[in-house]
Amino acid sequence: MVGDVMIGRARASLGLSGAPVKVSQITVAYQPGVPTLQDLSLSVAAGESVALLGPSGCGKTTLLRAIAGLERPAGGEILIGDTPVYRHGAAASKKWVGPESRNVGMVFQDGGLFPHLTVAQNISFGVVGRFRRRNSVDHEVVNELLRLVDLEGYGHRLPGTLSGGQQQRVALARALAPRPQVLLLDEPFSALDTTLRAQVRSEVAHILREIGVTVIFVTHDQDEAFVLGDRVAVMEHGRITQIGTPDQLYRSPRNLAVGAFVGEANILGARIVDGLAETVLGPIPILAPIDGDRADILVRPEALHMHAGEGAVIEYVEYYGHDTRYDLRLPDGTIVIVRDAHDVPRSVGETVGVKFVGSPVMAWPAD
């Protein structure tokens, strides 16, 4: 694992610094059936880490590729730092900077390592200037970066001999070698298996937090977005539905779809009476008043508490160790999910009481 002292040194000698990224009203049009971005805008501060989260086909990868310069939009403007790298317009104001000149690094889903070059040659590939000879190696940079990604001594290996997690870390080192101001990651962990994934993710999270470069990454995994992103942009049908900190998204999603996408959710019908939602679970406080008297509210499973009593029957149990998930059937037939961390697990068929214990919840007018 990478120690803090080491990361500090790496940052100093790599001389990385982030630049803001500003995407204004870009449109990417494709052939039918391929995601399209429509008037999409996104602002990322220097050094910030933003996750693009959404189901497949929502356009998140297209947005990332447009920022990289691998996709040419059909309208709008993209700035990296103060420099426009793409601008739609008449001949005079038109602007296009190719991917090779944007000073942007990218880590691909499959790593995209060059199989015929060693790890050291891969990392040196983008280091231009001092070394123009083909496949030459800049040992100083390579060693520094291999230390950063905890792969010292692997410089002479070919990518095919590395594990998936090691390949992704080499890909990260390679992307950082030319000192980019912005680092883009396209589902960087999706090719790894579950156990490895969590480990590589937290290693990369540590590295990214410390090196100060601006990070934009694509994922369809909510955990990944929350762990790595300072802010998360939820995308759907080529638009950003909501952007905010993980906590904002989790507690106050803009709509039911976002709420359900960023975590387990119970969606309950309610009547609004005196600013409280009257539900099958009793009155539940809501965050903001709404129009009308019928509402759908979003209750997280950990905001429900199970106790000895009457009112619900346990239908199904999933035991996870750190907590247990129960599906409870309420008298009116509604099924609610409860996550309970304290008790000895209960069994299917037991009768229990259930009550709301969390902070005020989001409510939306029901149709």
Binding site: T61, A68, G69, L70, E71, G98, P99, E100, S101, V104, G105, M106, F108, Q109, D110, G111, G112, L113, F114, P115, H116, L117, F125, G126, V128, R134, L158, P159, G160, A171, R174, A175, A177, P178
Partner: protein, 542 residues
């Protein structure tokens, strides 16, 4: 196309695999070991016989060597020229149809793989006929004052003809490789500061090199062992000299054949060097790469190049055959009854050969896949070597062998010997498919079958055979397709009076009956075109 099915075998065959632990059902009986040893013996007979007899020549061979140096040099020159040109042409065509937005690129892709159906001797003959006065190309060339003088002949002609009919051996594997390479390879290079052409050269080309090299190797082997085209185009390579030395001069034959065998061996050995850092074909190629946009004049130039290639490789020769055939039909000169005999002969010998070769090689396939040992490895190398060996050498070695070893003379010009010649030349095609067939019944399936059905014969009938059938059929099909187009072995080993389509076409061209030859050739092309489509193109789609 049938060629590169076998290349992998040429390149990856090994003498011995790791020893497998013996599990129930893996026991190998003596009969199959003897059988495999016999296969190895028969398949390595021609080259060993040639080398043995050449060694016996002693001092006598020195004179012959001097005389053979010219043909050897011409063979190497022609092989190298054709291999290099096809490598460039095939790769450029592959890049254009796979990576650019060339209009109609799917259709071009299919059309550009078709020239492989034309045997080189038919292609050469079609060109010779096209450039003769009255030929389809003579008129247009005459109009612009470029009317060809004399007949089409020489190295330039052989180079051109062999290039246009063999470039698909490079085009197909390179196109296949290009279309599965992940987009991230080229895009990573772009993100790391390379422009388009640099990214292609530094990140993509190294991944194509193995496909280009193995394609070019097949072309090289095809060229140095080709007899039909060089004979028609009067270019003295080793094969042509060997063929003409067959009656009079055995010493010359052994020396020339030895040279050709060594040249083949060197080419294969040079290619077999392991290339490190080549990516396994990814199972999921990820994001489809956006095709490169060809703008303005580039688009027109690209279309012109592809159309010109296709014209040279397919349109012009086929048009030439059609025109001659049409003239013959219109004049009523063509005797259709004459078609029946060769057609029946070709189909019969092709089907019998296919069935025999597949049956003979299944035990070897079982052995190489399930319990590879030194014996099976050696036998499989012998089978693979047979595919690389030139047909004239196989045929003449077999024919001299039966005539010089007491007790075997009755095989001379017999069906069994013809069949053996075909088997040695095309066995590798059947072996590769038979191995696929064996792999189609994995251990888990065999073991489940064994637990559920105690009767061995019923297991074979109900489980093993149905799973293996597609592989066996396609192996047989590849052999059939190759036999249908085969020329030199048939010319040298067929019993007297036994004509196939290929030998009839050959005779008609040599005798100058272009119209008859055109009709016969078109029928042959039709048959082998349908076979190719059924066996190879359709199989590649699925």
């Amino acid at each position: 196309m049938d060629g590169y099915v076998a290349t992998d075998r040429v390149l990856t065959a090994t003498a011995s695999g790791p020893p497998n632990s013996r599990r129930v059902g893996d026991d190998q009986n003596l009969v199959s070991r003897v059988w495999i040893a016999a296969i190895g013996g028969v398949f390595s007979l021609p080259p060993l016989f040639v080398l043995f007899r050449a060694a016996l020549l002693g001092g006598e061979s020195l004179d012959e060597v001097t005389g053979a140096l010219g043909p050897l040099w011409r063979t190497i020159q022609l092989g190298a020229l054709v291999a290099i040109t096809t490598a460039v042409l095939g790769s450029v065509m592959a890049w254009l149809v796979v990576r650019t937005d060339l209009p109609g690129r799917r259709i071009w892709h299919t059309l550009l793989s078709l020239p492989i159906v034309l045997p080189s001797f038919i292609g050469a003959a079609a060109y010779a006929a096209a450039l003769a006065p009255n030929g389809v190309l003579y008129g247009p060339l005459d109009l612009v004052g470029l009317a060809p003088q004399g007949r089409l002949a020489g190295m330039g002609a052989a180079w051109f003809v062999l290039t246009v009919f063999t470039f698909p051996y490079v085009f197909l594997p390179v196109a296949a490789r290009l279309s599965v390479l992940p987009a991230s390879l080229e895009e990573s290079a772009r993100m790391l500061g390379r422009n388009g052409p640099q990214a292609f050269r530094e990140a993509v080309l190294p991944q194509l090199r193995p496909a280009i090299r193995s394609g070019a190797l097949i072309v090289f082997l095809y060229t140095i062992s080709d007899y039909g085209a060089v004979q028609l185009l009067r270019f003295d390579t080793l094969t042509r000299k060997i063929f003409s030395a067959r009656l009079a001069d055995r010493a010359a034959f052994y020396v020339l054949a030895t040279m050709l065998v060594i040249l083949t061996f060197v080419a294969v050995a040079a290619q077999r060097r392991r290339v490190p850092g080549t990516m396994e074909t990814p199972e999921n190629p990820g994001v489809a790469q956006p095709p490169i946009k060809l703008s303005g004049w580039r688009r027109i130039a690209a279309l012109a190049v592809v159309a010109a290639t296709l014209t040279a490789a397919l349109l012009a020769p086929v048009a030439s055959l059609v025109v001659w055939a049409w003239r013959g039909v219109a004049d009523g000169r063509v005797d259709y009854a004459e078609l029946i005999g060769p057609l029946v002969n070709t189909a019969t010998i092709g089907l019998i050969t296919a069935a025999v070769v597949v049956t003979v090689l299944v035990p070897l396939a079982l052995s190489t896949v399930r319990r590879s040992d030194g014996l099976a490895g050696a036998a499989s190398i012998a089978v693979t070597a047979g595919y690389a060996a030139p047909g004239v050498v196989i045929a003449l070695a077999l024919s001299f062998w039966v005539r010089s070893v007491p007790g075997f003379f009755w095989l001379y010009l017999s069906f069994p010997l013809l069949l053996a010649g075909y088997a040695i030349q095309f066995g590798a095609l059947a072996l590769g498919s038979a191995e696929d067939a064996v792999r189609a019944v994995p251990r888990s399936v065999r073991e489940s079958a064994r637990l559920l059905e105690p009767d061995r014969n019923r297991r074979i009938a109900l489980i093993h055979f149905p799973l293996m059938r597609p592989g066996l059929v396609s192996g047989g099909g590849l052999v059939l397709l190759s036999v249908v187009k085969e020329l030199p072995i048939t010319l040298l080993l067929a019993p007297l009076g036994f004509n196939t389509m290929a030998t009839r076409i050959w005779a008609k061209f040599e005798e100058g009956y272009a119209a008859d030859a055109g009709v016969f050739a078109l029928v042959l092309l039709l048959v082998s075109g349908v076979l190719t489509w059924l066996l190879v193109l359709r199989a590649m789609d699925s």
